[in-house]
Subunit: 430 residues, 2 copies
């Protein structure tokens, strides 16, 4: 039921309901049939349309500079220094205020940001293409297992050295390996990983192993590169999160296909910055803003406390719009150790996500649910009617700038209400 | 409660109970602390103690030649031809009857047989060592994903060519890679695989991927071998069962450590041949025989039927004695697609296995059970008292000689009764 004008049930208008249902079915079918493949690793400015040398992208719906704060602001300023746009973070802020350095939203550039989500022109990006539409999305590289990472709001010499290492050592040889392979299909890896303990957001352990497995023949062929290939192998095998960036780009390029679908009430974007949450729906290009998520349960690493927790942005929740992450939590019982919760809670949560989605993914299936497809296509009608909002498997950052844990977040209902009001005015008001 | 002499409850004898409990605790601690590592790949006759050039090993407790039949008999005869001990299977049978070719039981030679389980002198074997005891166990190589394999009772030119390929191409280069690595620790891989959808008997998908991942740096270093290394990579990536042979050798070398422990009622071996099932207990070297298992539920591949099913042996059920396989089924919900069953049945079955074991593994844990350790150390007392026998995740062979499915088998109680009677006479009778 739509929020606005509750006294006039929209159900009365059969024709509108039919239009909505048909549009949502179309959205669902598009989401079910995308086929993302990794085609390259390149420098952002060379491949991201409209990327500019003085442009910095950050996570979250578009907003003004003055709304950035804390770790995300620090990461943007660090990104500017990393890019050579300013000598210090202080100078970077001046240049941003003067308009000499631009700050914009990843999602508006077919990019998808992990936490703070910083893109600068010279950063390497994974290039993921949907073979159905031919469209592309991009994601930066996993920064490795150090708690200090630009995407977690840190910027120091360790972070800078690591960014240089990714740019100068890892990305060139990874790019060569991928180009030699031609491309790597991501859907089969994602499909299998769901049967191997991953939900592809907070857990990508199996997907990373399966991805590396696909690369082996090409790694061996490139072995004349000696040291470089060994560094790439070390990088790919460090931590178990390399694949997350591919999951994100795969979800982003898929969900991007449901745009310009009049009458569709399916969520086509969810993202948050340090200040606000936002969603889009398939029938509109507008962002609908709301308040930040809250944490339902979480796990905080030793030597840290919940007092440190800071929301500094995140677009990896694109996974949930694509029926993964907390929407496939029951595929990933090992997540308990990483983000808290219990099997019972995970099952309950996952079942609730079926209540707010219009269908199931045809390829992504959950063994514990007897191979039922993951819940796909968040319908804002159901969110409002049932007062169930999407849950989100997210990493937790410290205000000091590092990862200190992970948890299950719940998106607030206000952005969905805002979308619903807009939808009502546009399609249903008489 | 022991089967024999039910009128004199052995519980009355506090001292004997204490002896049993202490011995079982000792068995449990040994099983919890073994540390199997892969150290080499070598020709059986060079590494398996007491292996002989005219000796063929097969799955199951020791028995006479006339008791072998069907696919297992065919595999033994095929093994003899493969080894060059006879020109034809008919001549091989004559030589066996004359005593010129010996047939014995894998388990008596620190080997562990998959299904029919054939070892001949020139076959390559994986060499797995327990670093705690220094003892070794051996297992032949996975024959690949063809339904026609010697271990499934087939012997034809395809099987022969594949055996030669393993011996001449795969084993030498795999051996070099392993020796370059020094050794590969198996416990960390097994531990992680349990969080990635494997129970390490009927599902080794994650373990195989993780094992190959460990090898990557050495594969790359050996890449000057060109074609051979690529063939090895193809072999390792074919199917997802390479690791099962390592699981089996790891379980075998571990379970072998609980021998000569007076008063222990813990099962130290389970195996079956085409004719009989057998168990050993930690306080005796004797085999206790019983009837073959029956299938509780199963999945038969398309174009085959249950009428074809033939039991032709199997020692991979060593996994269950080590707290894995069906004892860790709840770690592997994807098994439904491979061997039938439902999540509810799997949970029920796994819970029942806790009722017949004396403890839990300290490192092998089940996420769905909130990281409880797998049930470890089958106590024949509990089996008889509760009338719950160990279940077994097994592959299913056709009488025509090939894999046609997989299922959950239940071991019959008679071998446990036989062991209990022996134990009563030896330790409890007054």
């Amino acid at each position: 039921m739509f929020q606005k004008n509750k006294d006039i049930p929209y159900q009365a208008d059969e024709k509108a309901i039919n239009n909505i249902n048909q549009a949502n079915q179309k959205s669902l079918e598009i989401l079910q049939s995308t086929n993302p493949i990794l085609v390259d690793v390149r420098t952002a400015i060379d491949v991201v349309p409209n990327m500019d040398s003085n442009l910095i992208l950050a996570s979250g719906p578009p907003m003004s500079w003055k709304e950035y704060r804390g770790g995300q602001k620090n990461a943007i300023l660090g990104g500017a220094v990393h890019e050579g746009l300013a000598d210090t973070k202080e100078k970077a802020e001046e240049e941003i205020e003067k308009g000499n350095i631009q700050v914009s939203s990843c999602q508006e550039y077919n990019c998808v940001g992990s936490l703070a989500g910083i893109y600068t022109a010279s950063m390497p990006v994974l290039v993921v293409e949907d073979t159905v539409s031919g469209n592309r999305s991009f994601c930066t590289l996993f920064e490795g297992s150090s708690p200090y990472r630009l995407n977690y709001g840190s910027y120091n010499s360790e972070v800078e050295n690591n960014l240089l290492y990714l740019k100068e050592v890892i990305a060139p040889v990874l790019g060569e390996v991928i180009r030699e392979a031609g491309s790597i299909e991501l859907k089969p890896i994602m499909k299998r990983a769901l049967h191997m303990g991953d939900e592809l957001h907070s857990r990508n352990t199996a997907a990373t192993a399966l991805f590396v497995r696909e690369l082996i023949p090409y790694l061996v062929n490139q072995s004349h590169k000696g040291g470089e290939i060994n560094k790439l192998i070390d990088y790919l095998l460090t931590g178990d999160y390399f694949f997350l960036r591919l999951s994100m780009a795969a979800a982003k390029v898929s969900i991007s296909q449901i745009s310009n679908i009049p009458y569709s009430t399916i969520v086509s974007s969810m993202a948050f910055s340090c200040s606000k949450f936002g969603i889009k729906i398939a029938s509109s290009d507008k962002w609908f803003y709301g308040s930040l998520p809250h944490l339902e349960h979480y796990h905080i690493n030793k030597n840290h406390s919940e007092d440190e927790i800071e929301f500094m942005g995140g677009e990896s929740i694109v996974m949930e719009t694509f029926g993964l992450g907390s929407f496939a939590q029951v595929a990933a019982f090992p997540l308990q150790a990483y983000q808290g919760g219990s099997p019972e809670k995970m099952i309950e949560n996952n079942n609730r996500m079926y209540e707010i989605t219009v269908g199931e993914h045809k390829d992504f299936k959950i063994p514990y649910f007897q191979y039922k497809g993951t819940p796909l296509g968040i319908d804002i009608r159901s969110v409002l009617e049932k007062e169930i909002t999407p849950t989100l498997d997210i990493g937790i950052a410290s205000e000091k700038g590092m990862q200190i844990g992970a948890g299950l977040a719940v998106s607030p209902i206000d952005s969905f209400e805002s979308a619903s009001n807009y939808f009502y005015d546009k399609y249903l008001a008489t």
